[in-house]
Symmetry: C5
Amino acid sequence: MRKPSKRRSLKTGLPPGTMVHVGERKVERVTIDVIEYNEREIKEHRIDNPDTLVTCMNNRNSVAWINVVGLHDIPTLEKIGQAFNIHPLTLEDIVNTNQRPKLEDYGHYLYLVLRMLYRDKTDGTLVVEQVSFVLGSHFVVSFQEMPDDVFDTIRKRLRTNKGQIRKKGGDYLVYTLVDAIADHYFTVLEDIGDRIEDLQENVLTATGPDTLRTIHAMKRECIFLRKSVWPLREALGALQKSESPLMDAGVAPYWRDVYEHTLHIMDTLESLRDSLSGALEIHLSNIGNRMNEVMKMLTLIATIFIPLTFVAGVYGMNFEYMPELKWRYGYAFIMGLMIATAVAMTLFFRKRKWL
Amino acid sequence: MRKPSKRRSLKTGLPPGTMVHVGERKVERVTIDVIEYNEREIKEHRIDNPDTLVTCMNNRNSVAWINVVGLHDIPTLEKIGQAFNIHPLTLEDIVNTNQRPKLEDYGHYLYLVLRMLYRDKTDGTLVVEQVSFVLGSHFVVSFQEMPDDVFDTIRKRLRTNKGQIRKKGGDYLVYTLVDAIADHYFTVLEDIGDRIEDLQENVLTATGPDTLRTIHAMKRECIFLRKSVWPLREALGALQKSESPLMDAGVAPYWRDVYEHTLHIMDTLESLRDSLSGALEIHLSNIGNRMNEVMKMLTLIATIFIPLTFVAGVYGMNFEYMPELKWRYGYAFIMGLMIATAVAMTLFFRKRKWL
Amino acid sequence: MRKPSKRRSLKTGLPPGTMVHVGERKVERVTIDVIEYNEREIKEHRIDNPDTLVTCMNNRNSVAWINVVGLHDIPTLEKIGQAFNIHPLTLEDIVNTNQRPKLEDYGHYLYLVLRMLYRDKTDGTLVVEQVSFVLGSHFVVSFQEMPDDVFDTIRKRLRTNKGQIRKKGGDYLVYTLVDAIADHYFTVLEDIGDRIEDLQENVLTATGPDTLRTIHAMKRECIFLRKSVWPLREALGALQKSESPLMDAGVAPYWRDVYEHTLHIMDTLESLRDSLSGALEIHLSNIGNRMNEVMKMLTLIATIFIPLTFVAGVYGMNFEYMPELKWRYGYAFIMGLMIATAVAMTLFFRKRKWL
Amino acid sequence: MRKPSKRRSLKTGLPPGTMVHVGERKVERVTIDVIEYNEREIKEHRIDNPDTLVTCMNNRNSVAWINVVGLHDIPTLEKIGQAFNIHPLTLEDIVNTNQRPKLEDYGHYLYLVLRMLYRDKTDGTLVVEQVSFVLGSHFVVSFQEMPDDVFDTIRKRLRTNKGQIRKKGGDYLVYTLVDAIADHYFTVLEDIGDRIEDLQENVLTATGPDTLRTIHAMKRECIFLRKSVWPLREALGALQKSESPLMDAGVAPYWRDVYEHTLHIMDTLESLRDSLSGALEIHLSNIGNRMNEVMKMLTLIATIFIPLTFVAGVYGMNFEYMPELKWRYGYAFIMGLMIATAVAMTLFFRKRKWL
Amino acid sequence: MRKPSKRRSLKTGLPPGTMVHVGERKVERVTIDVIEYNEREIKEHRIDNPDTLVTCMNNRNSVAWINVVGLHDIPTLEKIGQAFNIHPLTLEDIVNTNQRPKLEDYGHYLYLVLRMLYRDKTDGTLVVEQVSFVLGSHFVVSFQEMPDDVFDTIRKRLRTNKGQIRKKGGDYLVYTLVDAIADHYFTVLEDIGDRIEDLQENVLTATGPDTLRTIHAMKRECIFLRKSVWPLREALGALQKSESPLMDAGVAPYWRDVYEHTLHIMDTLESLRDSLSGALEIHLSNIGNRMNEVMKMLTLIATIFIPLTFVAGVYGMNFEYMPELKWRYGYAFIMGLMIATAVAMTLFFRKRKWL
């Protein structure tokens, strides 16, 4: 799992509102894609000069979705911040890619930050990336670090005017974006769920240390997801109850829906956690049982031979007067005795269910 | 346990309100059964064309219960949705049979989704199925995937005009349906409780790995039930406090009653969970004790024979001057000594309670 | 412990308000004892025909306590319900003796159901029985399954006009009844507490499997009590805050008092639980330690003799040229060497605190 | 630790408000010490006849602190109750020395009951004693079982007119008394903390069963303290928010302060608990490790000698044709071989870090 | 970790508001540094006589930051308290350096106490120190025990007029100070996080008792941090919701920001805790596995040799008639048999995956 960097300490001692990009992964240069749409028309263009964004700000006839990719170019981001009148603390949070998911209401805009999960298109590893949304009266600015995202289906829907998306405002756009992110959480959870089910089938036979490591790796993934979803739940709960004029009443059922999704994700995570604990318990008691079985078997072998060795030792003694030694069938008799003893002990152990 | 499918990921990337049936089990074709009743009369008919449902919608003199079986035929469901003016998000939740139990108030109707548990009439396996209720001013639409259900007694009660059911409105009908579902939860819980009691009796003697697997299987069932009942409790709690005009004040005690039932189910589940943990603890310490007893017994046998073997070894030495070897009763004396040693050690071990 | 039966499933599929007695234990026939009292006079009589209860209902000058024993005779109970205008759901809960403790406010009466614990007078086993109270404006109806109860002291107090009981209303009577039940909880808790203290003293010496079983049996009792007291606490908390006109303000401190008692019971239960967990931990680590000590001792014996046996084996070899064998004191020397080795090993083990 | 007696069951079946002294420890006779003070003067006298207390009640120019020692003389306490118009339930709680800490507002007085901890002056054992405060408009009555207490510093402060105590009312006096009690909790906690720190240092070397017993004894003390402090926290929280006219607004910060102290005590208790759990974990894994080390060492010794014994056994065989036996240096060679084997095995075990 | 001293018991029995410095570490003498600033100018001076502070109190044109280092000189602190009209309880809390982090609103000032963490500049050990803030209308008094602190960057920012700090009031100054402290928490957490990651890599190979001790030491650090941050979170939550006129509305988003930081710190702490528990689990099961492997290997060696020794013992018997002994190749045959047996057992053990 590729997680966001945690070098938060880079920021220690800087004044609040200072923008410091703590991430490692950077695109070559910042790209700004603008999609302006209303029910009748849609315009897409890539902007070079952030100063031209003021026109979006002023065009009140359509909703503008400004998607900013790349967070390392502080001056450009500052210009975007000025164009949309974004508070310095918000800008600081946007570039500090180790934010706790949260919702903040700044009056003229809502700021929502959360984590996007998706699989890298080339190598399939899980990527965790911070996404920030600034929702104004007729614009949505989204900030992400890398060009890959989970929003392609929404762009397509905008272009093809499918569903209600072009008929509704910026709040509905943010909802569809958040819903797309939540849907990808389910994909990741199903993936983990499948692996846990595989594990539960193998756990009764596998005894290697790999199983332990796998269980703990999955536990860590669950902890990480929980840490991402728990505050997201709070943020969406706050959003659902928000009385901001930026939130249209008609969109409320949709927010309630995506909030219910996070509850469902939490439930599923808890179940996965319980399943993992169960698998761990079975695994550990399994290993213990196997080891016990081995030790019991070995000890049984030793226990059968030790008395026999004693008998052999007795007749290896060098006493002058040992009448059995002179007997014609003494050897055969003793050998028979020893075999009989071994058989009797084996039967006894089997009867006691020790063997 | 047959659970609802979890292929939620099929929905990833689709616009909200898109109906996707994620379940596997489908009936041949969707059936729509309508029961229209009031205190005086009752009419039952199966409808082919969902467009005719608008007449139910308009007939305000009786309560209409529309029971829809089969969720795979999206166009038919869309028509039902139009007939009763159901929100696209509700329709999406109805067909997505992996919903978290919840209550949603859409103003002109209440949407309640929960899980129904029952035993298959043919093979007795436990079936888990999602049921959705749409409660309007004088109609109730229920959606389920398969024709089997737990509502037969209620149909009978409607036909025979038994109890108050024909005298009351749609809210009372939904209550009786939910109450029937809750009653089946108790049946399942009693079944698990009986199995746990059997287990507790066997756990002191059984040592096989089956017991461990049984305990974990039952633990998983409890986790699953808990995951179903916990949000149901929330939903019914919300319903009980609901101030929707669709809920008649006279029905409130009934909702409180069924809410108390879910509390009782939760309590019982917690107790079962504790009992299972106790059984697991006893089982594990039992296995450990048995293994310890075996090892102790084996080690005792070895410990008695090792000193004897040493003595035999001593008199097997080939020294020229070993006076005991020449004695007339040396052999008998040494054998006696060894037997005495063995007896003394056995008594000592028994005295120390090791044997 | 004799618990109420759990055959709740008998009710599955019946209309709400249907009275089904789920218990097993039945008295011959239902008895109805009426005590009518006010500050000046007290009348006690046993009633045969429940229809005559209407006179109690109408006599507003005194408080009537109607104690109904036996819940199997549904028609009689229905008549009592009619006499006091009791809601069908309440009647259903009264006869369904597997109810969760709760308080319900039906306007013209309060319904309180809880569990009574007492020791059987003949054989001393613990009996758990459901008691229901219906508190109206000037009457109290109590329902129980068996004639034994914990209310004898209250009857005596009523007859002797001791304390304030005859001066106050029905709410005070219910309080004294509930208080008597709560007092018996303390008796049971003290009993368990004494047994846990015995256990804690024995746990360091006892190692048999009985201790484990005793601990788990007591744990189960604690779980059962907790399940009974937890909802009782909620019910009494609700009662304390109740603004029902049936509750006189002067009685409020008494309800607060009995509510505090349930808090105290909960605290005590939690402590007992912790004590049990501690006793279990000590017991398990004790058993482990004892087993380890045994195994260590046995292994030490083997470890001392194995090298000696090796030495004896060496001088049992048949090499032609073994000069020691020819020595005059070879045997004595080797025996001395072996004894010295054994002593040295013993001392070494003792120094390392292994012995 | 000397705890208050728990024979609560003595009270079963008695009417509410019946005073029963459940404790064992009694002073010879009840003493009543009165301190009347205002900013200018202070009077101390011991009263024999509780009827004279009415004068305190009537003297509104000074604050009266009536300290009652000894709870077994019910008639005397009843007279005190009449003098100050104390509710029967309060009197019942005062003598029932197994009360849950709580605050109760009876309008004309506040009743606060809590537990006082101090070390016995003679033998240093920890004493737990219940203290009750009745705070009226210009009087404070405190009830305790034994003459020893933690209030001597406050009496001195009253006499020397040190601090603000003589300038303020009865509520401030109760605050200083509660504060003195809370301070003694800290002393006890520090004592336990010191013992835990000692334990944590010894836990790595000590292996005896004493350590386990010490840890569990301290755990029990923590559980007991927690049980005392948790409801105290609730009581003081309620007191802090109390809008009783008996509480002067100027004293509010002091109550907040002592409330913060209880929060601090809870935090410290939680930390101590965690530390104890950690110490227990280290102790158990330590014991396990040591035992494992012993067993490993013993098994290693056996493992080295068993193959050697086998070799000696081989050359103890009596075959006629065994060429090695005839060799001149056969014995020396075999002895060398055996020593080499032992050295090689030792080195191998050491290389594998088994030794 | 150097923690604040805990000799809280020194205070037992003293009147509330008595200032007792419980710490050990003292500077030579108390220093008082005053920084007075507004948007235009900044003045820094060190004050000897605390009486001159009244001028700060009276100068309402600029914000005064009075930083007091050293808490042992009670008279000086009392004079400071008089100059700013600080409540005796606040002064008591300031010098009692074992305070629970909290916020208290005294009307004319807010009192905030929390813990500052930083690394000592000379030896790098972690220092924990209590810092108190008194926020008045146009002044901030901060109290600390030692001259080292985490505020140097803020002093620099004040001097250079960087950011908004000189434009805003005392509440903003307190915010920047608290923010600087919170930033240092992140540094410490990252440090612990790095060590846990190192640990997780080593835990699979390391088996010494050091690992256990390291894990428990880190657990204790986490517990200590949690104990510091948890009440800090409460205090900042209260501050954020505070309606004190001392808090400017414009500063609210900043407080919300630092409050979110404490939530983030709590989340991170919980994750670290989970990681530590996971590491401990792996470590313990690792140690167990390794020990089991060793014992299994040793037991296998013994098990292979014990039957061989028995065979050798058999042919060491001295029976007169043992035909094998006379055979020409008896010795070679038996030796071959023994080698074959050893090989067969080894293969069998390997096949069963025991070796």
